[in-house]
């Protein structure tokens, strides 16, 4: 069994302030909010796919996605015109794994990212990556490797500086199991199904454009995922307001339930928007996309 390296505090996360959520480095740089949303979502999805190919446990992948997401928020956050989403994704996963019990070499990380560069990862079912028979092999020439490794480590340092070395991430997964046990439904006939459905919601929420992991504490996330999973699977939970036992009030639960349920629709829309093309995850790609949109607009006004 893999040893569990204890995280500092499993209950509370540093959250984004309202001010940080009101703007971003990218928006100040003239990137429209909807383009930003698309790119952040695609980069988070890429991180999840890379984590799967690197055989990292889900909690490490989740921490990497949270770090990746924190990087972009607020006036002092990174800008997509300055840093590529793909590079920040790779550096987030490299940094997070380094601090975990499962460190990955720069080479493994870079190999996975160059493999993924050839696969449209954004709208591919993520389960496909788990089934994929990915064999690590050298996709990079020595020269390309050297320069990408330098870039990877540089981006790692930039993430640390932008986040002021805030690397602490608390996650809801273990709490979710504890809560299911406390509710006495984990050992039951649908316990397994319930847990895996709840985890599905928690995983999908990592990619949520409302940045749920940056705005809500783990107990509320776990509680909401359980609420939805129980409803879907048809497991009866106590009549009374059980979520309050887990530090979540009705209002927050309501908000999170709606946000979590909106994910499917959001992904569908994104798919529609980007059909035929892929979401740009590099600085050059973003510039091209901005130019293209300007061109289209310019054309419209003619």
């Amino acid at each position: 069994m893999a040893p569990e390296v204890r995280p500092p505090s499993h209950l509370s996360n540093p959250l984004a302030t309202l001010e940080q959520l009101s703007t971003s480095g990218s928006q100040l740089d003239g990137i429209s909010a909807d383009l930003e949303t698309s790119i952040l979502f695609a980069g988070a999805t890429l991180t999840q796919a890379a984590g799967i190919l690197l055989h990292l446990p889900q909690d490490i992948i989740a921490s990497a996605i949270v770090t990746y997401s924190r990087f972009w928020v607020g006036a002092e956050g990174g800008s997509l015109r300055e840093y590529g989403a793909k590079d920040i994704s790779a550096a987030s996963i490299y940094l997070t794994a380094k601090l975990s019990a499962f460190p990955k070499s720069p080479r493994s990380v870079l190999n996975v990212y160059s493999f993924l560069a050839a696969v449209p990862s954004t709208f591919t079912d993520l389960d496909k990556f788990s089934e994929l028979d990915y064999e690590e092999s050298c996709y990079l020439s020595e020269g390309a490797y050297q320069s990408r490794r330098n870039l990877l480590t540089k981006m790692e340092t930039i993430i640390l500086r932008v986040l002021g070395f805030q690397t602490h991430v608390a996650l809801p997964y273990a709490l979710c199991i504890n809560y299911l046990q406390a509710l006495d439904v984990f050992k039951g006939p649908s316990g397994k199904a319930l847990a895996s459905k709840a985890f599905e919601y928690l995983n999908a929420s990592l990619l949520n454009p409302q940045l749920l992991y940056l705005t809500h504490q783990p107990p509320a996330l776990a509680t909401s995922a359980i609420y939805l999973a129980a409803r879907e699977i048809g497991v009866k939970l106590p009549e009374e307001e059980w979520w309050e036992v887990f530090d979540t009030d009705r209002e927050e639960l309501g908000f999170l339930v709606v946000a979590m349920l909106s994910m499917e629709g959001f992904v569908g829309e994104e798919k529609g928007k980007w059909e035929g093309g892929s979401v740009p995850l590099t600085v050059e790609g973003v510039e091209k996309e901005i130019e293209r949109r300007n061109g289209v607009n310019g054309h419209d006004t003619l």
Binding site: R6, D29, A75, F165
Partner: protein
């Protein structure tokens, strides 16, 4: 050609223009936020004052305790308590949970304190506030793997450890190049090593007891947060002029778990404070290694000098066995299976006196309870060592002389506050890149155990296998 050139020039100009606009927008935004925050602080303060006035009124109006008052069960005046808690609340509101590192230019360097194996430390003053702090520059080696994991852990563990007896990490600041990283800590006047060296007499028994209680409480805190310190020694223990020690140097610290991760490096803890299981090459280890170091520090405070000053790893284990006796299969089951144990050919049936510790004789002035505590901390078998929490419950801390109140501690002139650097002759913590494993090979051993050697005091022989 020329059109391409002008297009490039346009782009560059546009780029500069864009950057400038962004900077302006950012400034405006931050200014607006700052004002909003100030406004919020004012509003809260006004609210608070109004509440306080109302509270006052209520109390005058009736003897019935207010709701708040009933909640405070410790009898403390609820209003003073409330007041004391207020600033923290406001702070939480105002400060974002993360933000970019500030530049080291915000500090003026005053003087060097110490150059260690992982970096250098200096006394500095924050220009804006005139507050004196300690700045430690983190060493960035092996940059092929990016930001050194040791430095990351040092920041991560220290950040998570807010405790009266652990040095306070204020922030992380950076310099111009990507590998200029500094941690800003509260400045603490002394370290125990330098301080002891400058004293003519050891600490009094009552003082030693206070220092031990403070140290152990810090270690208990770390362990309850799953942090291993892995470099406890007197030069890493700071002491201020208020009689408080502050544990420092988290350069070796890391998170662990149950069971501990399998990839723990054996290259930890400065030789003189290194536990026997590490010297014998144990592949996994736990909190017990820190307790061994605490034992060494206890002895050092009593003697005013390190108690086990080995010249190398083999000499270290030999000094340990001289003090603590030879382990037997009963006192330390399984020790023979440790990788380096095979190299020591210990007698299968050592004479009883050779297996007995010499603590009583070495620490003649120590009370029985003190001896009992020291013996348990320096138990060869890691399972025989108490946890930090158990140490705090030991009768040693309850018997006379009572621990001296920290307010009663003498103040000492600070070496670090002066231009002079602290001088140091303790060996350093093991360095990264010296290989993943402790080398305890035949080469080392033959040097010391090659010839049969009589250890007069302990009456046993160590032989090369």
């Amino acid at each position: 050609m020329s059109s391409a050139k002008s297009r490039w020039a346009d782009n560059a100009e546009e780029e500069v223009q864009r950057k400038r606009e962004k900077e302006e927008k950012k400034r405006a935004k931050l200014e607006k936020q700052r004002q909003a925050e100030e406004e919020e602080v004012r509003r809260k303060k006004a609210e608070e004052e109004a509440a306080a006035r109302k509270d006052e009124q209520n109390r005058e109006d009736s003897d019935r305790p207010t709701k708040r008052r009933r909640l405070s069960h410790d009898g403390e005046d609820s209003r003073t308590k409330e007041k004391a808690e207020q600033p923290r609340k406001l702070l939480r509101f105002a400060a974002p949970a993360w933000g970019p590192c500030r530049h080291v230019d915000n500090f003026e360097r005053l003087n060097h304190i110490e150059e260690g194996s992982y970096g250098w430390v200096s006394r500095a003053r924050e220009t804006a506030t005139a507050e004196v702090v300690a700045l430690k520059k983190l060493k960035m080696d092996n940059l092929n793997d990016g930001f050194p994991v040791t430095a990351l852990r040092e920041i991560q563990t220290l950040k998570e450890s807010s405790h009266t007896h652990i040095v306070d990490l204020r922030e992380v600041v950076v310099g111009d190049t990507l590998d200029d990283v500094f941690i800003v800590m509260e400045f603490v006047e002394h370290d125990l090593k330098t301080l002891q060296d400058s004293m003519s007499e050891p600490f009094l028994p009552s003082e030693t007891k206070t220092l031990m209680a403070q140290l152990t409480s810090a270690v208990a805190f770390l362990h309850s947060h799953w942090i291993l310190h892995r470099d406890l020694k007197t030069s890493n223990i700071l002491m201020n002029n208020q009689g408080e020690i502050k544990l420092a140097d988290f350069g070796m610290a890391r998170y662990t778990g149950d069971p501990p991760p399998p990839n723990l490096t054996q290259l930890v803890v400065t030789l003189w404070y290194r536990a026997p299981e590490l010297l014998l090459g144990a592949k996994t280890y736990g909190f017990e290694i820190d307790l061994w170091s605490v034992g060494c520090i206890f002895g050092e405070l009593l003697q005013k000098e390190p108690i086990l000053q080995g010249k190398n790893e083999v000499d270290q284990i030999s000094k340990i066995l001289t003090l603590m006796g030879i382990p037997t299969d009963t006192t330390w089951p399984g020790f023979r299976r440790l990788p380096n144990a095979r190299s020591l050919r210990l007698p299968p049936n050592p004479p009883p006196h050779a297996t007995k510790p010499n603590i009583r004789r070495t620490f003649a002035l120590l009370t029985n309870a003190g001896v009992d505590l020291l013996l348990s901390l320096l138990s060869l078998n890691p399972d025989g060592r108490p946890s930090a929490a158990e140490v705090l419950d030991h009768p040693y801390f309850k018997e006379d002389p009572k621990p001296k109140a920290k307010e009663m501690f003498p103040t000492f002139p600070s070496k670090a506050g002066q231009e002079k650097q602290r001088r140091r002759d303790t060996p350093s913590a093991p360095k990264r890149g010296e290989g993943g494993k402790v080398e305890f090979g035949a080469v080392d051993l033959s040097g010391l155990f090659g010839a049969e050697r009589e250890e007069g005091g302990a009456g046993f022989q160590l032989r090369m296998g």
